[in-house]
């Protein structure tokens, strides 16, 4: 009995291994043939699609089984064409039912199919797809939500901004940084809904909003960020200091100089770094005064920011090399040393 069972197991194993190899070879050759056929269709369609882009001719009509190849070709052109040329391409696809098919695929059962459809709609920059993509922001699959948000950002329709901003409020599973990046890509039109979102109770959302506002660099966000700098939450205040450094301007600079005396080292360190970004020589004396700090990061950021402030910054650093505090002297010497090597390079 034991012997027979072993024999069957051995035979099964070897047969499975051989079957695996055979299936892989067959699968590989089928895939290769399919790719070759597709390449041939694309080569055949290239010329009429080019004529559509360059000469304003209508997009060629293709049979249903060649629609995917046409879509692939159009997507390649979509990254280089804008305006009416792009519209002609997408209208041509819509006439042949490709767009309706993509919208339909947004409801497909496998998540990867829904994500693929969202991705394609985004790449086609179809304004008509905005409501469907906004709806896809509530999809149970994280991949679909991420791709839909990226698609909305690519379309750059202001109507999508509130939905994207709301997406920041989704719990931790959301890919915050990707959404944030998409909002940044939309620029100042994203600022008002983000300012509304600043009133959210969700800490992570507020941190993300502060970061995004910093990256968009619209001065309209300065008062709100200054307000955050005076709040109680340490992380938020440090992020606000960093964001104000990116926005710049006299109000930001004044607040950042004041933040160098904040009781929390994280805020002082971020303020010091941010003042280096603002790069106004007047900040040099404040940074030099803040340099004798107990915290290593504050000293490092003050010294590095001073090195960015041109002649006045370096003059302050020279003075600091004679400071009573050994740590301040070391840091000033180190930064001047590095600056010297880089300048000589």
């Amino acid at each position: 009995m034991k012997f027979d069972a072993l024999m069957i197991a051995v035979a099964l194993l070897y047969l499975t291994s051989i079957a695996l190899i055979v299936v892989t070879v067959i699968h590989g050759s089928v895939r290769t043939r399919r790719e070759r056929r597709r390449a041939l269709v694309i080569a055949r369609l290239r010329e009429p699609v080019e004529a559509c882009v360059l000469e304003g001719k209508p997009l060629p009509r293709v049979p249903q089984n060649e629609l995917d190849a046409l879509l692939e070709l159009v997507l390649r052109y979509m990254s280089v064409v804008r305006g009416r040329d792009a519209e002609r391409l997408t209208d041509g696809l819509a006439e042949q039912g490709a767009v309706a098919d993509l919208m339909q695929r947004l409801h497909a059962r496998p998540a990867w199919r829904r994500a693929e459809a969202a991705e394609t709609l985004g790449r086609l920059r179809l304004r008509a797809a905005v409501p469907s993509l906004v709806a896809a922001l509530d999809d149970p699959s994280e991949d679909v939500r991420t791709v839909a948000s990226r698609g909305l950002a690519a379309i750059r329709d202001p109507a999508a901004v509130p939905a994207l901003a709301r997406a920041l409020a989704d719990p931790s599973r959301w890919t915050l940084s990707l959404i944030a990046e998409n909002l940044m890509a939309m620029g100042p039109s994203a600022v008002p809904p983000l300012l509304d979102l600043m009133r959210s109770d969700e800490h992570n959302v507020r941190v993300a909003v502060v970061q995004v506002l910093g990256e968009i660099r619209d001065p309209a966000a300065t008062p709100a960020l200054i307000a955050v700098l005076h709040e109680g939450d340490l992380n938020l205040r440090a992020q606000a200091a960093a964001a104000l450094g990116k926005l710049g301007g006299p109000d930001s600079e004044r607040e950042l100089r004041a933040a160098l005396e904040d009781p929390e080292w994280q805020v002082r360190a971020q303020a010091a770094k941010a003042l280096g970004r603002v790069a106004h020589p007047d900040a040099a004396s404040s940074l030099a005064s803040a340099m004798p700090d107990d915290n290593w990061w504050v000293r490092v950021n003050c010294a590095e920011s001073l090195a960015r402030l041109g002649a006045e910054g370096r003059r302050q650093l020279e003075l600091l090399t004679r400071h009573d505090d050994r740590f301040v002297r070391d840091q000033a010497n180190a930064v001047l040393d590095v600056y010297g090597v880089r300048a000589a390079g």
Partner: protein, 481 residues
């Protein structure tokens, strides 16, 4: 006597079926995960990671000990990485050859008076160098203290919130950083560490620090290791990662959240398994704190590394790996089978203990008992032959699955001849190589019990095509690099 031998035979048989059941489960999970990952890659968003100002900057740490032949080329290759903001920190771990002077000459390094904050304990750094023309290169020269010690020095010098530890003789693919950082972008708060696949560079064409043509090695021992690496990474680590039990991130390539590594006290310098040890301590830290975290393996970021081409070096490497495993298991013994430590305590560590640590001893004693059983007539020769065929068949099945999974997903080995060669070696490895490995690992267990230290010797042949083949011998200090 007969009944004793029969009982032992039954134990060995049960063990055999249990271990293969685990491998099968891991294979099934890995195939599923690979499929999902492949689809997800299509929506990559790598362009977003590349250009986003929110992408986390990385410090790439490269410990180097007597790497004069490859160090300049390794740094040049790193500079080509497709990634936003990153710095390269080379830690010269007291090399006795011209590693440091070659770096100084090639990159016009200048000694600077930069204070290092020694948050993690490490041997005394005696100089910090920066380059006149490569703004993101820093070289820390320190007394020899071993790889873990050098990495600790590197973490101390690192400026960014993530660090990537790589070997000085490894070649990172140009988009490896971009891909390996994706888990940190997807879930920035939860992700603590991530790693990619280590592939064997022997036989491939390398130009200017980039693998330009992937071929199977001509050296038989190296081909066997290609199969082994594919099996280990694609059908094992992928599976462990999926069930949140990844217990090792290869020392050749891994990205870590610096803050987390600082909290566990950095790399331990008294073990040869510092990479696994660090990962297990990270698991412990987060489980003890009951915080959500992720330590992940993803199969598409690639680092190429040279596999030993002679038995002596391979034996030394495997002896070290197995001692490292045993040291880590000993250090983490309190986590084993404790629900508090989640899947890694309930599955990962018990698997390592029962199958990876004890496995070679069972295998070696199994062969001895088999001989005794045949001699005493307890089992028939037909049964023995069938059982051997079953063991070989299962080994072949797992290896074939790994090679084909790689082929279906990445298709790295384009030539049919190379693929056929790899498939042939999935059979060959079961006749001699597998038994040799078991024997070496059993020996390593004895060495561990005798508290043997050290890394042994690493003989290297350079991998740059067109260059004269060069042989390099690396002999390290007690816990050397």
């Amino acid at each position: 006597m007969d009944s004793v031998i029969r009982s032992i035979n039954d134990v060995v048989l049960t063990y055999f079926f249990a271990i293969n059941l685990v491998y099968t489960l891991l294979l099934v999970i890995s195939v599923r995960e690979s499929r999902q990952h492949g689809r997800r890659m299509g929506f990559g968003g790598y362009d977003v990671i590349l250009r986003s100002p929110l992408t986390l900057p990385i410090s790439v740490l490269m410990p180097a000990y007597n790497e004069e032949n490859t160090i300049v080329q390794a740094v040049q290759a790193l500079r080509l990485q497709k990634y936003g903001e990153f710095e390269i920190v080379v830690i010269d771990d007291g090399s006795t050859d011209s590693t440091l002077s070659r770096l100084v000459a090639a990159f016009e390094l200048e000694k600077v008076d930069r204070p290092l904050r020694l948050t993690l304990p490490c041997s005394r750094p005696h100089a910090v160098y920066i380059s006149r023309h490569v703004a993101n290169l820093t070289v820390v020269a320190k007394e020899n203290g071993g790889k873990a010690d050098a990495l600790n020095a590197g973490v101390n010098a690192a400026r960014f919130p993530l660090f990537c530890a790589i070997d000085a003789d490894a070649i990172l693919e140009r988009d490896a950083l971009l891909r390996v950082v994706k888990p940190f972008m997807d879930r920035p708060r939860e992700t603590v560490a991530s790693s990619g696949i280590v592939r064997v560079v022997n036989g491939c064409t390398v130009r200017d620090g980039t693998v330009t043509e992937v071929r199977a090695p001509r050296n038989h021992l190296a081909v066997l290791q290609v199969v082994e690496y594919l099996r280990a990474f694609l059908t094992s680590r992928t599976g462990w990662s999926r069930i949140r039990s990844l217990f090792v991130i290869s020392g050749a390539f891994g990205v870590f959240k610096k803050e987390a590594v600082l909290q566990v006290g950095g790399y331990r310098t008294d073990t040869v398994g510092e990479d696994m040890d660090l990962v297990l301590r990270l698991h412990r830290l987060y489980r003890d704190r009951r915080e959500r975290y992720r330590i992940v393996f993803i199969p598409d970021p690639v680092v190429w590394t040279e596999a030993p081409e002679n038995l002596r070096t391979l034996r030394g490497q495997r002896n070290r790996w197995h001692r490292g495993l045993l040291e880590c298991l000993w250090a983490s013994r309190r986590m084993v089978a404790r629900p508090k430590y989640g899947p890694v305590g309930l599955f990962g560590l018990p698997y390592n203990l029962l199958f990876e640590a004890v496995g070679p001893l069972v295998e070696v004693s199994g062969y001895a008992i088999l001989v005794v059983s045949i001699a005493m007539g307890v089992v028939g020769i037909q049964f023995v032959v069938l059982f051997f065929l079953l063991a070989v068949g299962y080994g072949v099945f797992l290896s074939v699955a790994a090679v084909l999974l790689d082929q279906a997903r990445a298709g790295r080995y384009g030539s049919r001849h190379d693929l056929a060669r790899l498939l042939l070696f999935t059979v060959v490895e079961n006749f001699g190589y597998r038994q040799l490995q078991a024997f070496w690992r059993a020996q390593a267990t004895v060495d561990f019990l005798r508290k043997k230290q050290g890394w042994g010797e690493m003989h290297r042949i350079g991998f740059e095509s067109g260059a004269q083949p060069r042989e390099q011998t690396r002999t390290q200090s007690a816990n050397g690099s």
